[in-house]
């Protein structure tokens, strides 16, 4: 957490603690209960808001945490300060184990599975009476430090909630938090940058269950009594209402929503029924009118004001003109490609070439041919049902070439890219990358081999800033694990700072530094495509796969992009395979062109040759029919 945030939250904590002696016992109790909801809401938010997985079974997790701590205290005499965290861990693990099979499910089915989970727990609780005390529930000691008063409990809850908030911030402001949002918003693009969704989802579930388990434990020892009836589906839905009203994928939003919705019924002196009606109505109202939630809507408004479209459209054009000069210093970094990617080595200034390790002799950077192809596609066939999307496609891309892939609609170009990116398994055939079998790799492993791609519909993550988008591009360079990130260890913070500074420097070289905090959704289309290309180049690719890199751009922008790509090859030795419909662009830029039609390669060679090839002309324009056949 950065200093400003720390300060504000501590201030809030201070205010809350100071208020303690001033309020009545019952008010303190309701505020303490709000604290429990805050922790639970953050837990749900991490899974649903950030990682995008809907869970309808969080009441079940609350139950595990509550009963877990209760049993540790009543049966094993554990002190509360141990039992509650232990309950959290227990909940995390139990939840994870039960739902590991569900992690590969799509959102809908995952939600159904969690629904079943919640119902199963709700049924087990009263029936396993030897453990849980059945319908009668369990009495447990309340939270107490010295006096055991309401004020004391309230203070303990406030502190506990703050600690959990700090933990949440550590997670969310790390590469893991960014990876969650990336996975939520554009899973294929996230995979192409080295993110492995099942692992990330497992982390999200583990963390979410941990938070919820802690909340359960806190709940048990706040109230002093738990019974199965406390953990029904309505609770799961209430938590949803809280994070939806507050704002998905924001920590202050979850806090706001939880506090607001748990205190609202008390302010209105509402009955249980009325408060639930309110929650339900609030949920519906928010979805219809305020999809971003209260806090979220405020953020959106702020970003709109700060990064409004018109300003950036003008600046975008001016910035593009500076590309040329900025590309040159970048090439210094491409030399480092040969060495490992430890962050410390990359703390180099923009125009210096001092290295902290011995330089390998600088290889020839002009296009290298004849060293064996970098990418070799052999006899690739892809069948969807009865349809052959690709039919025995074979071609090779030599290192340092720029190859264009053209063909009419439905020719198979996107399918080919998706097979290379490992999003789609081929029916038969081989693909080799520098001699290695590409097909045995998974989608998220390609970037380690130097294969980077862009997407037709812009593979940027709209709710991350430009800088964060670039940092997701560096995801594989972050070595810290879940625990280090959560605890905010110094090593993690150093790593984050170093890579962040590096990304900022690179943005500065391209003259885009003022965009670093802009949320991508606020940017004009051309700028977005440019940033996606930048992110790809910054990953220091061997092979760059570009899917319609200039679609929707003006003529001037297209020329600039062409120049950028050519420079990347000339000075950085990057090999490029691109798909495009703009023929002038392809003809002007590519060394070689491969033409596809109906899934088959119909021509291959220099652009002018291919453009004149009769099969290509026919594919695009249709059969040559003798004139005079027209009625």
């Amino acid at each position: 957490m950065d200093r400003k945030r720390w300060f504000l939250w501590l201030l809030l904590l201070g205010a809350l603690l100071l208020a303690a002696p001033l309020a009545r016992g019952y008010t303190l109790y309701t505020w303490a209960l709000a604290g429990v909801y805050v922790v639970a809401a953050i837990g749900l938010n991490l899974l649903t808001g950030y990682a995008g997985q809907i869970s309808l079974g969080h009441a079940g997790l609350l139950a595990i945490g509550a009963y877990g701590s209760a049993l540790l205290v009543t049966r094993l005499d554990w002190p509360l300060v141990l039992s509650i965290p232990a309950a959290g861990l227990l909940t995390g693990l139990v939840g994870l184990v039960l739902l590991i099979p569900a992690l590969r499910l799509t959102a809908l089915y995952f939600a159904i599975a969690t629904l079943g989970f919640g119902a199963a727990v709700a049924q087990l609780l009263p029936n396993w009476s030897s453990l849980t005390g059945g319908h009668q529930g369990l009495r447990v000691p309340k939270l107490a430090l010295l006096t055991g008063s309401d004020a004391e409990r309230y203070a303990l809850l406030a502190v506990a909630a703050m600690l959990m908030i700090a933990l949440a911030y550590n997670l969310v402001r790390s590469h893991l938090g960014r990876a969650w949002l990336a996975m939520r918003d554009h899973e294929p693009a996230a995979q192409a940058l080295g993110i492995h969704p099942p692992k990330l989802k497992a982390y999200a579930f583990l963390v979410s269950a941990f938070f919820t388990g802690i909340a359960g434990g806190l709940y048990a020892h706040l109230v002093g009594y738990i019974s199965p009836g406390d953990f029904h589906l309505g609770i799961s839905i209430t938590l949803f209402a809280m994070i939806a009203v507050g704002g998905l994928a924001t920590i202050p939003g979850a806090v706001l929503g939880a506090v607001f919705l748990s205190l609202l019924p008390h302010w209105l002196s509402a009955t249980r029924e009325l408060s639930q009606v309110l929650y339900g109505a609030a949920l519906v109202a928010v979805v219809v009118f305020l999809p971003y939630g209260i806090w979220g809507q405020l953020l959106v408004g702020y970003y709109r004001l700060r990064f409004s479209d018109e300003r950036w459209a003008e600046r975008g054009r001016a910035l593009l003109a500076r590309l040329q000069r900025a590309v040159r210093p970048l090439t210094a970094r491409w030399v480092l490609r040969a060495s490992s990617s430890a962050p410390a080595d990359l703390a180099v200034g923009p125009r210096t070439r001092t290295q902290t390790q011995p330089q390998p002799p600088e290889p020839e950077r002009s296009p290298r041919r004849g060293e064996g192809p970098l990418l070799e596609v052999e006899d690739l066939t892809v069948r969807f049902g009865g349809l052959k999307a690709l039919d025995a496609v074979s071609f090779a891309v030599q290192e340092g070439e720029i190859v264009g892939l053209i063909g009419p609609n439905g020719a198979g170009k996107t399918t080919l890219f998706n097979v290379i990116s490992r999003f789609c398994p081929p029916t038969s055939g081989r693909i080799a990358l520098g001699g290695e079998d590409l097909l045995k790799l998974r989608a998220h492993q390609l970037i380690e081999r130097g294969v980077v791609r862009t997407f037709q519909n812009v593979g940027l993550f709209p709710y991350l800033s430009v800088l964060d988008n670039l940092l997701v591009g560096e995801h594989r360079r972050f070595r810290s694990g879940l625990l280090s990130v959560g605890l905010g260890l110094p090593r993690t913070r150093r790593e984050e700072r170093a890579l962040r500074a590096q990304a900022e420097r690179r943005l500065a070289e391209f003259g885009l530094l003022m965009l670093k905090d802009a949320y991508v959704w606020a940017l004009p289309y051309g700028t977005k495509k440019l940033i996606e290309l930048l992110r790809a180049l910054l990953a220091e690719p061997r092979l760059l796969l570009l899917d319609e890199p200039v679609a929707g751009m003006s003529q001037e922008e297209r020329e600039r992009i062409a120049q950028l790509i050519r420079r990347a090859r000339d000075e950085g030795g990057v090999t490029v395979l691109l798909v495009e419909h703009d023929m002038s662009f392809v003809m002007g830029l590519c060394d070689r062109v491969v033409a596809l039609s109906f899934g088959k390669v119909i021509a291959e060679g220099r652009p002018e040759e291919v453009a004149a090839h009769p099969a290509v002309v026919e594919a695009y324009l249709g059969e040559e029919v003798p004139l005079g056949a027209r009625a």
Binding site: D309, A321, Q324, P408, N409, G410, P524, Y525, E548, A551, G552, E559, A562, Q563, H581, D582, M583, S584, F585, V586, M587, G588, L589, F598, P607, E608, A611, A612, V616, V617, E618, Y620, L621, G622, E623, E624, V625, L627, A629, R630, A631
Partner: protein, 249 residues
């Protein structure tokens, strides 16, 4: 005046203009082709005419009546029917059910039955397969069904979006022959969006070439058939200027 008339139509996808001031005209009884490479805006054009997209600027008129604000259902009732790209059949419905769905907006039972006969006469293979689910038909048969379904709506103007897509060349020839027949024998007005320029120009009276959302060329089909520029628009320029220059601005 009779026919379909577009004037200065601008359609946006969010902030991006996909159609930039397109003006075109399809006279009654004409076959007009809209050509152009992928991404030129042909599908956007047809979707705008059909009411799936609303233009931000410009007007669309049918027989003199403005209709750019119409819903898709209204367009169909006015007689503008689209056969969308990729056939878009109802795969689990039978051939017959698909055809009947085409006549959904019509109330004249007798007329519908007559049209069904007409359509079966035009495409005998559909009659053979009338009880089979549409998803089991071959590509060519599916395309025929899609067009037949469109015809069941008794259109004044038939919009065809890339009907030759995914069809083997022999079938494509047959397809265009059918389109020509429909126009010549029944006077059906057709607006045809196609990548397959040569075949389209065979059957069309006039044509427009779209590029990047604008009308780049227009003329009679004969003129465009002979025009080298058509080929260049599709396949880029043989000797591009500007992009290769070693400029350092």
């Amino acid at each position: 005046m009779p026919g379909l008339e577009l004037e200065d139509v601008w359609t946006y996808y969010g902030p991006i203009p996909a159609l930039r001031g397109v003006s075109l005209r399809v006279g009654e009884g004409e076959v007009v082709a809209v050509l152009g490479p992928n991404g030129a805006g042909k599908t956007t054009l047809l979707r705008t005419i059909s009411g799936l997209l609303r233009p931000r600027r410009g007007s669309i008129a049918l027989d003199g009546r403005r209709m750019e604000r119409g819903s898709p259902a209204r367009m169909v009732r006015l007689g503008v029917v689209q056969v969308p790209e990729g056939r878009q059949l109802f795969p689990e419905l039978t051939v017959l059910e698909n055809l009947k769905m085409g006549a959904y907006t019509r109330r004249d039972g007798h007329g519908i039955r007559k049209d069904l006969e007409r359509v079966f006469a035009l495409f005998p293979v559909l009659k053979e397969r009338s009880r089979q689910p549409a998803g089991t038909l071959s590509g060519g048969e599916q395309q025929m069904l899609a067009i037949a379904r469109g015809l069941m709506a008794r259109p004044k103007v038939l919009l065809l979006d890339e009907p030759s897509l995914g069809l083997a060349p022999a079938l494509v020839t047959q397809l265009f022959r059918t389109i020509q027949e429909l126009n010549q024998k029944e006077g059906l007005t057709v607006l045809l969006a196609e990548q397959n320029a040569r075949q389209a120009l065979r059957v069309a009276h006039r044509a427009y070439v779209l590029e990047l959302g604008r009308v780049a060329l227009e003329g009679s089909a004969q003129e465009l058939q002979r025009d080298e520029r058509v080929r260049q628009r599709y396949l880029g320029q043989a000797h591009p200027k500007g992009v290769r220059a070693e400029e350092d601005r």
